[in-house]
Subunit: 250 residues, 4 copies
């Protein structure tokens, strides 16, 4: 494969019309597998089953990412901005090239297989985002973003109302339940934990009011939680509906 | 009843305009009853109450489905594709005829009344789907499907965002809660169980964070869960709304 | 107040344009108070506080409803259909007059203050529905009903899909969890209790899977629960939106 | 800074077009910080860590609010309605000036640092609302309000239906579960606590039915809960969508 073909296979800018190239699809898959390995490695029962496997897999993935990095460095010469040695150096210090480097360098510096390197390895997922942003989903992405943007004020306002409700119900429960359950409702920040679980309708049930008055206010909070869900949903539905009709109308 | 009439009563293709035929409605009812029997038979308290009843019911249902199978085999001769002995043989090995056979054959082979045949008996429900797909609901079905299809990318994108949120909140909780609750948050896959219960606002409460920092991240996750519900709902609402207006407009 | 005025104050048909009459508003309030009394009377702590109060209140309410019943019987003569003694008798045996009678007769027959008469007393709430149906809400009521009706098939279909999901997830959990938790997942009807709590995102947490495979299927079920909520919401939103535009467009 | 400039910086009426002035943004921030301090002060662990800090912070905030109050009193002279001494007196007894006074006066009267003054201090948040109402969010606010208003009857009706469902499911569970769990379902008001947690899909799980019939009705209630969420969401989505199209159309 010559340099120009390789560049078109690797370059994210190139797949804008035709979707993700074969090579980039393979890289996406590798990133996902590497992230999955990083996640599963922490699980003690799995690590006990195959102690050496995860280290070996990590070495294989880093090897592949290193080859990818060098290929990109070679092929980028097709881009007039990054031609020659100076251009290559400029590319190395560009944002996404640094992210690519961060995905492999720590392994060679010797601390990539440690437990504390877990989050560093998950940073690789950011590289998928970069690919996905430009690929087949770019239209859907901008449609969602513009719908959200057109209703920023309404969404912020309903978030503000939700925040005030959260604060208000926490204060109510603190006032009526603090005496009965000081551990769970002894202060507003403590009551906030119950309040957030109720208003979002998650409802863990690890903390529930026990006094009659507390249950009364909790019931009102739970009903208000429906509004907290209905408001943003309604706003988003209207925004998406409107975004589509504008597209059709023009 | 002559062969042509029987064919029109049985053939799924025939009710496209007038809805389900009387005979096919009866068969639907029988399938539902047979499935219900298969489900209830597993319940120990019910089986203890009437040990022989369920076996007898199953024999009756299989007998009826056998008669149905033979009638279909007889009447299919009306269809030019399946005329004569060769045509009948070709019909027997068509997909839906094999599904029909699978609903009765295991009983005669002697293992249909065993507990492990439970899932095999539920396969009969697939036969209802075949009827429902063509009947009165075919329009509603295609309306829903086309609405979902027109927004595939937006829905996949919001699923991707939900997946990343799921992973992100699991990692957060693993980092801050693993020390306090190694059993529940000792690895990312374990934290995922909590994370999925929270982001979908199910909130079982069998696993909840106990540290202050864990509760802080859990609260943020719960609030994000509202978005996880609001996004697909809004997208679907817009899609259904648009699908209807196109129908009216044309 | 003369008979014609009284008739216009009492007759539900009369307030169609101007909303509920003063007298009917008072009756609505009385029904709500009587129902509240019936509900609160069951609570042992309240009955212990004031043993005679609830019986006295019930007597007062029945007295007022008796006066209302007699006034209606007197004023109905204004309606040409119910003129004279024969007309009055015909009125007494009309549906709503019998409901009115049912609200007071049991008390005089001596079993209205018993605990088992609780549900009978709540039947009075049906009388509010009759008033509300014709009053100021009649437009909103028909708007909601027509929106629901226009999408009956889509709603039934998504209910069918929800039902199959419910059955499918119960079967999955029964297969993988029955051995570990025979009490909670020992049969499909038992697993259904967990399944319904999860798919509706209620999530009591009294029954949760404990095996890894069970948690895997439970996670998928919880995610599917979002669709179960998003589908009907989206359909309803589109239906309401369309209903309104038709009104404006015509 | 001269009086006219100060007035334009302080007056809420002035920022209608250009958003919130720098000075008012600073005051908003101060109010939020003061409220946060009031909330955190109650938490025993925090108060134990820094006993004098919260009292000192409160003194600082009150000092700043006092300066703000005096500046407003001085600058209000620019408004022709509040010119001169008589005007200033009229201003002092206007609604928002009294709210401003309430935010500082209790401290000087000596009971602002007590625990029972907690709610009084949170009243300051009302001052933020006043600013937010007129600022950049006024358009979003009126859009939300008009959307809610245009569907008042539909929303009230679905609230009424929800209320009846709540009552109905409480009565069902009371009838079938009272014998098995008198503590949790011994009366309708007690069953209401379970009912509200289920219909809003919060599902704490502190109270769950244990009889087969109770679980059957609970399952129906949980499914109905989806409708309780879907109805207002759909109505709001349609209302927001319509509100936007009217704006574009005119």
């Amino acid at each position: 494969m010559n340099k120009a073909k390789l560049y078109h296979q690797l370059a994210p800018e190139a797949w804008h019309e035709k979707g993700l190239s074969k090579l980039n699809q393979l890289i996406c898959l590798l990133i996902l597998l590497a992230s999955l390995t990083a996640i599963l490695e922490i699980e003690p029962t799995l690590r006990a089953m195959a102690p050496g496997l995860f280290t070996a897999l990590e070495a294989v993935f880093v090897g592949m990412f290193t080859v990818e990095y060098l290929l990109r460095l070679y092929a980028i010469g097709e881009d007039p901005r990054y031609r020659g040695v100076i251009g290559r150096l400029r590319y190395i210090f560009s944002f996404w090239a640094l992210v690519d480097l961060l995905a492999i360098l720590p392994f060679f510096l010797g601390f990539m297989t440690h437990n504390n390197a877990f989050l560093l390895r998950l940073l690789r997922l950011a590289r998928i985002l970069r690919l996905a942003r430009l690929g087949r989903f770019s239209q859907a992405w901008s449609a969602l973003a513009s719908a959200l943007k057109s209703r920023t004020h309404e969404l912020l306002l309903s978030a503000g109302v939700a925040g005030l409700l959260l604060l208000f119900s926490s204060c109510c429960l603190y006032v009526v339940e603090a005496a009965a359950q000081p551990e769970a409702f002894g202060s507003v920040p403590r009551a906030l934990w119950w309040s957030i679980a109720t208003l979002t309708t998650v409802g863990y049930g690890d903390v529930t009011p026990i006094t009659a008055l507390g249950k009364f206010f909790a019931g009102i909070t739970a009903v208000a939680g429906i509004g907290i869900i209905a408001m943003p949903t309604g706003i988003l539905a209207a925004a998406f509906s409107d975004a589509l009709q504008n597209k059709h109308g023009s």
